[in-house]
């Protein structure tokens, strides 16, 4: 099958949707020209679709959030790029209060088909204002969907689904994944929102994760296979609303759970997943639910210090070993 980089697959998904539907447009800071945003995701789009559909803006995140809601409410399909994840702090009202409540509070009359894309710029040496991860901020927002792909295939399929979706979607990318290569079919396809994906089957432990975490988990699974431990890797893909059935099934099978995610541990996405399991699947568990996540320390601008607070494959391995002990 065709091999593609994550960033190219994602872009291809957006291009297909823009060709299909003239009401889809892109807006954000420095997204135009041949640059196409700091990560090049929208590279070349302006050339094909023009300045009216690939709209450059000032540093005005609040207005960008508002534009998403307003353009969606009045019938277009905006795709907003927020330059990096820690700036999502600046659109919380627009997502949580405005977009999240609109369909319900309008009596089911005003859908809000908007996508806010951003990139969690992790593992770079740039300090806490650049390396944040605001995913958990949108976990307590009814009406909002939170989609986080881990592979080129999912990135393309999920961005297409997100653009077509009639509800507001926060779509989070992870900078270390952009260059990742993977299978991407030539034929059109969609990855449905709300469905998790078993990225690797296993029977002893389930690692529940999303985004970059998936790759840590897959690495850990491979490592542990050598020791005879069979690890299932459950990629949530849609983090809100998350796929409860998939979690239930996997937990029933393995009875052990590790949740891993790159954000700060306390109050992170993993909290909800663990709480759900502790509430609805506790009888299936034979061990504590472990969370492998970043330390609760603002990201420093220093390689050594980053080592001290961040997680990786090894930490997932350690957690699994602990559970199997």
């Amino acid at each position: 099958m065709r091999q593609m980089k994550f960033v190219d697959a994602l872009r291809e998904g957006m291009i297909e949707e823009m060709r299909r539907d003239p009401d889809v447009f892109q807006i954000g800071e420095a997204i135009g020209g041949m640059q196409g945003g700091i990560f090049g995701v929208t590279k070349g789009l302006e050339e094909e679709f023009g300045k009216d559909r690939v709209i450059e803006t000032a540093i005005s995140e609040g207005a960008l959030g508002g534009v998403a809601v307003g353009a969606a409410a009045f019938g277009m399909r905006p795709v907003v790029e927020i330059m990096f994840g820690s700036l999502m702090t600046l659109v919380v009202d627009e997502v949580h209060n405005q977009a999240g409540s609109l369909y319900y509070v309008s009596g089911g009359k005003i859908p809000c088909p908007m996508v806010i894309r951003t990139c969690n710029w992790m593992r770079i040496i740039s300090g806490p204002h650049h390396c944040g991860n605001l995913d958990a901020t949108f976990m307590n927002s009814p009406g909002v969907k939170l989609v986080i792909p881990s592979t080129p295939y999912d990135a393309k399929g999920l961005i297409k689904a997100s653009i077509r979706d009639n509800d507001p979607v926060v779509f989070m990318e992870y900078s270390p994944l952009y260059t990742l290569k993977g299978d991407v079919p030539e034929e059109e396809y969609i990855v449905p929102i709300g469905k998790a994906d078993i990225k690797r089957e296993g029977k002893d432990v389930t690692v529940i994760t999303y985004g970059v975490g998936v790759h840590d988990a897959l690495g850990a699974a491979e490592e542990l296979e050598k020791e005879g431990v069979s690890v299932e890797v459950l990629d949530l893909r849609t983090v809100l609303p998350y796929d409860k059935d998939a979690i239930r099934k996997s937990v029933a099978k393995t009875s052990r759970v590790v949740i891993t995610y790159e954000g700060y541990k306390t109050g992170g996405i993993g909290a909800e997943i663990a709480a759900f399991i502790a509430e609805e699947c506790i009888e299936d568990l034979s061990a504590p639910i472990l969370r492998v996540a970043g330390k609760d320390v603002p990201c420093p601008s220093n390689r050594r210090l980053i080592e001290g607070i961040s997680i990786g494959m090894k930490d997932v391995v350690d957690a699994i070993r602990k559970l199997m002990a």
Binding site: A63, G70, D93, Q98
Partner: protein, 319 residues
């Protein structure tokens, strides 16, 4: 370009309908027949009524929290308004949003929001749609909302993109318990437009013809591609909210003066100009009365929602 006599009578009728609607709302709230948070635009009726004669049916309307008058002036579903106030299933938002979230998208009217200032960003988004569809946006908010940063971000973005948006400020010098001297720097809100190379003007917001004239001029320019303009209408709200009715005319003598009462003022004007006669006035008031009566009956006949109504309407598509 003064409105025709017919248009003026239309504006007058709209003002009366808003006035009558909101006084009824206050009355029923006091009696405990309707409940919730409600923000009347009593005293500001000239603005929605005049604007509605300036923009077209195909244009988009986005307001903040004090949007009830605009909802009515726009011709949004009047029966559904009353069903909404009564919290019934036939309310325009099925009884969910209440008076501060009135929205009727069949009329392209998002006339509700309760986070002050967020309408400016939303209107900017509507502006991109309007630009594509060849229509324009009328965006409305109180002077207090212009102290939110998103107002400034929106004006800048709309000006750069030359979006077809008429920004309308309902300047009533009050933000809940605050007055502008405590909160707001600069002489007039209209000057805030200048920072973005945008045209801005202030008019007497209790004077129908002044609003109409300037709004019509701006709308023409906007349709010709000028980009956004800003119209500040100086007015006075009689009361902040139905749960805080200190300033109603029955309480405050000054409010009874025609200057404070745009409806009375416009009525006087129409009579002096010979546009409004006694018999016409009677007929208009009867129209308004019937419309209200009809809507009240409609509302009261509408069922109360089931307590679980809507819990499956948080997402538009099942996940």
């Amino acid at each position: 370009m003064q409105p025709t006599s017919g248009e003026m009578l239309g504006i007058y009728e709209t003002m009366l309908l808003i006035r009558t609607t909101e006084l009824k709302m206050v009355e029923l709230f006091k009696k405990g027949e309707i409940e919730g948070h409600m923000l009347p635009c009593l005293g500001q009726e000239a603005i929605p009524a005049s604007l509605a004669k300036v923009y077209a049916d195909t244009d988009y309307l986005v307001t903040g929290h004090r949007g009830g008058g605009h909802y009515v002036a726009r011709g949004c579903d009047y029966n559904a308004l009353w069903a909404e106030l009564y919290g019934r299933v036939d309310g325009v938002t099925k009884g969910r949003g209440g008076q501060i979230h009135l929205m009727d998208m069949t009329k392209k009217a998002m006339t509700g929001n309760a986070v002050v200032g967020q309408q400016w960003g939303i209107a900017t988004g509507a502006g991109f749609v309007a630009r594509k569809r060849g229509v324009m946006v009328v965006a409305v908010g109180g002077e207090g909302s212009t102290n939110r940063g998103v107002f400034h971000e929106s004006l800048n973005m709309a000006a750069v993109q030359k979006l077809p948006i008429l920004y309308v400020i309902e300047y009533n010098d009050r933000q809940m318990w605050n007055v502008c001297s405590e909160t707001t720097a600069g002489e007039r809100i209209a000057t805030r437009a200048l920072a973005y190379g945008m045209e801005g003007a202030s008019v007497d917001g209790n004077d129908v013809l002044a609003i109409h004239a300037k709004a019509a001029e701006f709308v023409r320019k906007i349709r010709e591609g000028s980009g956004p303009c800003l119209l500040e209408c100086i007015t006075a709200k009689w009361t902040d909210s139905v749960s805080n009715l200190r300033n109603l005319p029955e309480n405050v003598e000054a409010m009874k003066k025609p200057d404070f009462d745009p409806v009375l003022r416009f009525e006087t004007r129409l009579r002096i100009d010979g546009v409004l006669t006694d018999s016409l006035d009677l007929q208009i008031k009867e129209n308004v009365r019937q419309k209200l009566q009809g809507a009240l009956s409609f509302a009261l006949a509408s069922p109360v929602p089931d307590r679980y109504d809507g819990i499956d309407e948080v997402y538009s598509q099942p996940v």
